[in-house]
Symmetry: C2
Subunit: 354 residues, 2 copies
Amino acid sequence: MAARTVKLAVIAGDGIGPEVVAEGLNVLSAVAPAHGLHIDTTEYELGAKRWHATGETLPDSVEAELRGHDAILLGAIGDPTVPSGVLERGLLLRLRFAFSHYINLRPVRLYPGVTTPLAAVAPEDIDMLVVREGTEGPYAGMGGVLRKGTPGEIATQDSVNTRFGVERVVRFAFAKAAERPRRKLTLVHKDNVLTFAGELWQRVVREVGAEYPGVEVDYLHVDAATMFFVSQPRRFDVVVTDNLFGDIITDLGAAVAGGIGLAASGNINPERDFPSMFEPVHGSAPDIAGQGTADPTATILSVALLLDHLGLPEAAAQVERAVAADLEERAKSPRERSTARIGAEIAERVTGQG
Amino acid sequence: MAARTVKLAVIAGDGIGPEVVAEGLNVLSAVAPAHGLHIDTTEYELGAKRWHATGETLPDSVEAELRGHDAILLGAIGDPTVPSGVLERGLLLRLRFAFSHYINLRPVRLYPGVTTPLAAVAPEDIDMLVVREGTEGPYAGMGGVLRKGTPGEIATQDSVNTRFGVERVVRFAFAKAAERPRRKLTLVHKDNVLTFAGELWQRVVREVGAEYPGVEVDYLHVDAATMFFVSQPRRFDVVVTDNLFGDIITDLGAAVAGGIGLAASGNINPERDFPSMFEPVHGSAPDIAGQGTADPTATILSVALLLDHLGLPEAAAQVERAVAADLEERAKSPRERSTARIGAEIAERVTGQG
Ligand SMILES: CC(C)[C@H](C(=O)O)[C@@H](O)C(=O)O
Ligand SMILES: CC(C)[C@H](C(=O)O)[C@@H](O)C(=O)O
């Protein structure tokens, strides 16, 4: 097989980021050779440490370098010693916006053997794909403050929704729904209150949906959707939603599917005009950082999404199968394992499948 | 005891609204005499039927009449035959805004005997009071559409947060927290992304919190909060949050506390400058309307909140005890009961306690 070199930028970040990223890379190295993949990694020191040392979150020169890569693997960003929002807006969201990651892809799946906080669900009840918009909504950062610190102070946040931005994510979601056995797409919004944006989302779903007569379309208000996530998760197949609602329901989805330690995500630019970025849904968890106790599974599953994006669905499936086997094994014989141990065992399973 | 007359406006509304409101009034009549209360009700025909007949959602003259009442009991508003948002914005939200219902009070409590979708929780694990802001945020209705129907279309929704509006709800929440045994207040927001509004909310909580040194203060991003609602609901005592986040987490709260059939709410103007409005959290459920199968418990618990607001905490407690006993009884000997039967049995229990 002709070797193909993938230039991967690695931003390990803060807290448990470096620990889980190490295991993601471990598994990636294990799966690569059999698929003719050579991974050429460059590490970027970004996050709390750099900000404290230099005041920088993402220098323009680094952004330009990242742009030259095929993909980015990110651990976690954020630290209690940095004011809330500085790194999130200055680094994580800046990358999502600069690289036009308009698809924030978040599978929510209950693997066999995994404990869920829900009483009466089985793995087949929780298998959805949340397609979260990644470059608009209240995340656009628009708004401001007037008369700060006075009794007359006003702070605003503006949600921006464009036909262009909504249509491209809705198209992606329909295409995904059409590929899945259930062929169902649920729009989650709050169109009875956010009437301007809601009407646009509904209209675009209606119009694009006309091109997909085989896909069943459902709509839920975001408040009702959170109820159904816990009372009837089976209701969902593909979910398409805006940036903020997607943020909320995918954390909830992670919780019902066995916890944030297992939830993967891809920040994707489908046209490949820019590098896509793969990261666990969880944060930097400073309370357990450096102890080698973090679960690297979410990062490893994010590596599977990366492989899929690189056009290697079989390699992705190999990683997912290894994770699934590891999770079943955990259920059968529970034991304490370090971050490195979990990574090593999953990597071994991947090689074993070879 | 000198009789006190309470002028109560009743808006039964759409779908199951009239059925559940009838039982709320039933229970109110049962509890009133022992507390020297005379309830003088006036019914207002508002909602889908009126809109279809006249195009009116809330005529100014009706708003003026409602203003003359001591309180409002509302069933549910909304109907699939009316475009989404018309009745919500034109009636429900209009009342909340016109009557300055800046406190949207939503207890989330797991009653003994009630089935929850969560596997490992007991009633003592779920006992919180969500204090949702009711007159600002993205509910203000600000925003608009530009170039509608063209590829260049933009729709915006603006969240408005004023020092005045945030401070009054935060003060109310601290006062509630100080009265409760655990004395804990959790601010739920998304200050790492909604930085303008988030900073204001955080600052106000810090400043008002300085007056309440006995109240422990916690902060959670809304996405993390939804996770903890299912994985660790014990974490919460009083929660204070904005209008939209409050909408979302209280539906989720209702789900984990046994379902929307039990969730009560009060839209409160604490200064009593305007009538406060009490309503179940659930909607009009057109699919089961007219069948006499809706659970009136959420409305009956909303009547308890109404009694509390009228300054009759003992009457409120009586209703709550009757509901709790009814729910325990249901758990012991499950049987099908109509809406009217449930109402009648709870009313009987209230009288029995006399
Ligand atoms: C860290 C934060 C900015 C981010 C978000 O809100 O998108 C995170 O919660 C996520 O879901 O990836
Ligand atoms: C009907 C709707 C406008 C309302 C809201 O969003 O506030 C409802 O969901 C609620 O929670 O009372």
